[in-house]
Every structure is written in C-alpha cells, then in structure tokens.
C-alpha cells in the first residue's frame, strides 16, 4: 500500500548541507537456455575447464556465430514482463576490446538497436510502499570467459566455459534515490525474471550482476532533471562494475556517495570513471586498466543480419507468459481475500507463491496464507532454510490446513502436528488419527464434562453470572479435562447455555 505521506528521500548530511543521490543500474542477467547465444555449446556451469566450449566460442579462425532462437524468445518474454516496447527491428554490433577472456577480441552485443526498448516496473520496499522505475532498454549480448589469477603467481589461467553464454543487459533510468531502493529494484527484477523463467536470478552463481551508476546532487536538482530530461542537473557519475549481491549494491552506493560528497566538499571534482567494489573492505576503487579511455569502436557485426521479429512470434510468446508477481498479488487480494501484506509476501517470490498455490488447492486461502506466512516462513527463517528446502511439503501443509478448516483439530493442536511433520514427516491425517488428536465435537461428551465441573464448583458457576469473564476458568478446565481436544466453539456455546441460561 503506497504510503503517500511518508518521505522516502534519502539524504546524506554534509558540511554544506544535505546531499541526495541518483542511481541507475545496468543489470546483467544470464539467459536461461540450454546452449549459448551463438554456439551449440552447453551453458551448464561447474564443468571441467574449457569443456563447454565450441570452436566458435574459442574464436578459431573462420568460425561464425548463429543465433539461438530461445535466447531471442527469452529476451522478448523479459521485455514483456518489464512492460517494455519490443523492437521489431534490432541488430547486433561488435564491441571491440582486447582481453584474454574475450576470444574474438570483441563482444557481440546490441548497441544502436536493442531488442527491447523503454519499459517500466513497479518495485516494493520492505514496508510495502511502492515506487516506479523506468527501464531504458534491454539488449542481448555474449558473456566473457573467466580469468583465474590465483593458480599461478606469474600467469593467468583462462576458462572459456562461460564465453558466449547469453546475457540480457537491463538498463534502468537513473530513477533510484536510495541504496535501499536500488536493492529493492534489483530484487523486483529478479522476481520478474524468475517468474518468467528467463533467468535463474541466483546472484551467488553470477546469474545476475549489476553495474551501479552513482552520482550525488543537492536537493531539488533531481526534480529539475526529471522535468527537463537534462542530465546536466545531475552530478558526475561513477560506474561501479559487477556488484554481485543486494547487500553489496547497497554498501557500494553508500560508500561511493560518501566518497563523492567528501571529494566535492573538499573542493574537488568527481571524475567520471569505472570503479570496482571490494566486498572485503566495503570500498570502491578506480580500475587500473583505464589509463587509455575505452574506445569500443562499435559497428554492426557483418557475420549476422538484422533481427526482425514477426508479429506472430511475439504474440505466441505473449500468450504463453505466466502470471507475473504484480498480477498475482492483485489476484491474491481480490479473489482470495488475502490482506495486501500477506499477498505481497507470498507473491514476492516465485517459489513461495508456487508453494502457497499448492497448499490452497481446495482449501481456505486466508487460513492457508496465515499458516504459510507465519508458521512456515517463521520456522524456515529461524532455521535459515529456503522454501525449496522446507521439510514440510505443500501437500502436507495443505492437509493440515484442511483438518483445521473442517474442525477436525484446533489451531493449537495443529501446531503440535506441524512440529511432528517438521521433525518426523508423515501424513497429517494419520498423525492425528494415531495420536488421538481429533477434536471432540460430540456435544454430549462436552456437556457431560461441563455438568461435572459445575457440580463440583458451584461457587465459581454462580460468579459467572456477575462476572462473565470468569467463564474463562471453565474453558480452561474443559480443555484440561479433554486434553485440549474439545472444540473451543462448542465448549463456549455449552458453557454459555449452562452458566448463563
């Protein structure tokens, strides 16, 4: 729920007053595909060095690129998921530079005509408030190989397994105004690509990396920039390369913003440059290899032809798109009656949402949401497990919810059963049966317990007439006598009838 009154402007106090920050991100997302963008070699990682490498990936003389249809489709799906314009005409260009893990001496990328143009996504902060980020473009390009520097003190080892794997570079507008929002944006992107199954989104495995552009400005400047589109209102930016976790993104921005402010307040100037973030020290530093300004000499790759997308191709992909997180959240609220908060938490992660949707098959959704969000997530968090590692599966939890819903067990007993499921596994119905945990809904049996209690405690029974709160004592006693199995609602009704007439 947008909190209209809240002030989300992130300010850094300085000697010359407050500063604000402006952040734009270039996220590299590895396309989910079996084979590489321009060769038939596998994209699977963890293989022996240089085994998932074709002659094309190693840039042998005379080798030529042929594009993978699925990578194109994945880029289009992602573009659709970003509410972006799908360009019917796009083109591949060569970005020329020398590096040992770049076998061709150029990266095939898209410079002038990207496959996806402008879009927009809605992101959510931890407090549930939302903000919109503009997407400038998404283009397809090749990943580079890997240089390993620590196997030999005097040499670098090169593995090309990664060389040529398809990446989507998703470029945001400079619409992010705080380290937290930058992280929230990347988290949202990750959720979207995981829903679409166009990227694994695992930052630890390098499936998503971000280049973070940071600048600082005085209050009011950003608004002028937004009104006019004129970048001169903003400060000089620095690009921090290849940051690979949400936490590091935030740290890098915090450090970099402070560095720039200190520099400016000391009368210095920010120089536009490429920097690296050192996760161990939390510090950014200028890249060494920049003594000569990079001149990539982009030009259309003559080994490839322009990529022209047919309407039917795009329509088919559109029709096959899964429900996206924003739509899912909407549906959870409007159709299942969940609270905004519950719906957001559940929809924010595809695995969680999938789990939840399995739990609710034929069951009460609100009750299920409660159980998934509170009991299950709480327990998983405590144990540091992800949803896919949960010892209690969605079928099991679903059955448990059903037992509560049908009054077979009470919520309290359900917690006991959940513990058993967590520790030992098993079928909830069988556990309830075997352990005799079924609720007593037989009013005759409850009445008998109540009658006995009233007979044994006439004074307390009399008190209830003046002090209805004292009835709680009787409830407790009934539960005690039935081992917690008496249906609480039935107990209440009978006590009311007997004690209050």
């Amino acid at each position: 729920m947008p909190l209209d009154t809240a002030d989300y402007t992130y300010r850094i106090p300085g000697q010359t007053g407050d500063w604000e920050i402006v952040v734009g991100l270039e996220v590299h997302a590895q396309v989910r595909s079996k084979s590489k963008l321009f060769s038939g070699a596998s994209t699977e990682f963890g293989a022996a060095p240089n085994s998932h490498v074709s002659l094309v990936d190693a840039a042998m003389p005379g080798m030529l690129p042929v594009i993978n249809e699925e990578c194109v489709a994945q880029a289009v799906r992602t573009g659709l998921g970003l509410n972006a314009k799908i360009n019917r005409f796009s083109r591949f260009d060569r970005k020329n530079y020398f590096y040992p893990d770049l076998p061709q001496g150029y990266q095939i990328s898209q410079f002038e005509f990207p496959i996806v143009g402008e879009g927009e996504i809605e992101c959510e902060r931890d407090d549930g408030s939302r903000f919109t980020v503009g997407i400038e473009r998404l283009h397809l390009e090749q990943d580079a190989g890997k240089s390993i520097h620590d196997l030999d003190p005097n040499a670098t080892y090169v593995d090309l397994n990664r060389s040529g794997v398809a990446l989507m570079e998703i470029v945001s507008r400079p619409h992010l105004r705080s380290p937290g929002d930058a992280a929230a944006y990347v988290r949202t992107l990750r959720t979207i690509v995981r829903y679409l199954d166009t990227c694994g989104g695992d930052m630890e495995k390098g499936q998503m990396r971000a280049d973070v552009n940071v600048s600082v400005c005085k209050p009011g400047a950003y608004e002028k920039f937004r009104e006019s589109g004129d970048f001169s209102h903003l400060g000089t930016r620095c690009e921090i390369k290849n940051v690979n976790s949400l936490r590091f993104i935030q740290q890098a921005i915090e450090y970099e913003a402070q560095r720039q402010i200190d520099l400016l307040e000391d009368g210095g100037k920010v120089i536009q440059q490429t920097r690296l973030f050192d996760a161990n020290t939390g510090v950014t530093r200028a890249m060494r290899s920049k003594e000569e300004a990079h001149d990539y000499r982009y030009f259309p790759d003559p080994d490839l032809l322009p990529l022209k997308l047919e309407e039917a191709f795009i329509e088919t992909l559109k029709a096959g798109l899964p429900e996206l997180p924003a739509e899912k959240r909407e549906r959870f609220v409007s159709r299942l009656g969940l609270s905004e908060y519950d719906a957001s938490v559940l929809a924010a992660d595809k695995d969680r949402a999938d789990y939840f949707e399995k739990v609710i098959e034929g069951r009460d959704a609100k009750l299920a949401a409660n159980w998934v969000n509170n009991e299950l997530f709480g327990r998983l968090n405590k144990e540091g497990l992800s949803i896919t590692e949960s010892p209690v599966g969605p079928q099991q939890l679903g059955k448990l919810v059903k037992l509560i819903e049908e009054d077979v067990i009470s919520g309290k007993i359900a917690k006991e059963v959940f513990e058993i499921l967590w520790d030992e596994g098993g079928d909830p119905e069988a556990i309830v049966e075997k352990k005799g945990l079924k609720q007593i809904t037989d009013t005759g049996a409850i009445e008998k317990v109540v009658d006995d209690l009233i007979a044994q405690n006439p004074e307390q029974a009399a008190q209830v007439r003046d002090k209805p709160k004292a009835m709680g004592w009787f409830v407790g006693q009934v539960m005690k006598a039935t081992g917690g199995k008496a249906n609480p609602q039935a107990v209440n009704e009978i006590l009311q009838k007997k004690l209050l007439g």
Binding site: K34, S42, I67, E292, L305
Partner: protein
C-alpha cells in the same frame, strides 16, 4: 582531417600493435594519404540514404536451442602457445 604521429601511436595502442617507432613518420604519411583519398566520398549526396551493412536481404536465421557442440577440450587447446590442466595460460593480468 589529418592524423598526427600521436594519433598513429594512439591507434596502434588501440589496435594492440607495438608502436612502429622506426616507421611512425612513414606510416603517418601513408595513413594521411589514404584518408585524403577516401575524403572524396564527401562529394556523394547520401541525404536520407540507409546505411548498407550487408548485401543480404533475408532475415537473420535462428537455430533451435540444443546442445550440439562442445566437449572438445583437446581441440580447443590444441594450438595454444601455453596451456595447463585444461586452461589456457596467458600473461598475468590482474585488475
């Protein structure tokens, strides 16, 4: 437009060709000669003309997503000046 010896050094660096110290003057002259000569393209009216990047008019062919290649480490490393344990070995380059 005319290139200077410094331009030639810059281009050589960009192209990763060791600076041709002994030929720099001659090379500068040659490059200027060629560039002066291609300058005549300025006479051509190209107003509104689409740049021609290829002689082919058919669309870009797409291949199906299947693993059909790779697992040829021996071939990949066969001509390497230096390789070890399946890796190419190159001069140290640390960022």
């Amino acid at each position: 437009m005319s290139v200077t010896q410094d331009d030639v050094r810059r281009i050589a660096r960009l192209a990763r060709i060791a600076e041709p110290t002994d030929r720099i003057e001659q090379l500068t002259g040659e490059l200027n000669g060629i560039l002066d000569w291609v300058e005549q393209l300025g006479e051509v009216d190209v107003e509104g003309v689409e740049p021609m990047t290829t002689a082919v008019s058919t669309p870009l062919p797409l291949r199906p997503d299947a693993v059909t290649d790779g697992e040829i480490t021996q071939d990949i490393l066969k001509n390497a000046p230096r390789s070890e344990e399946g890796f190419f070995v190159v001069p140290k380059s640390v960022e």
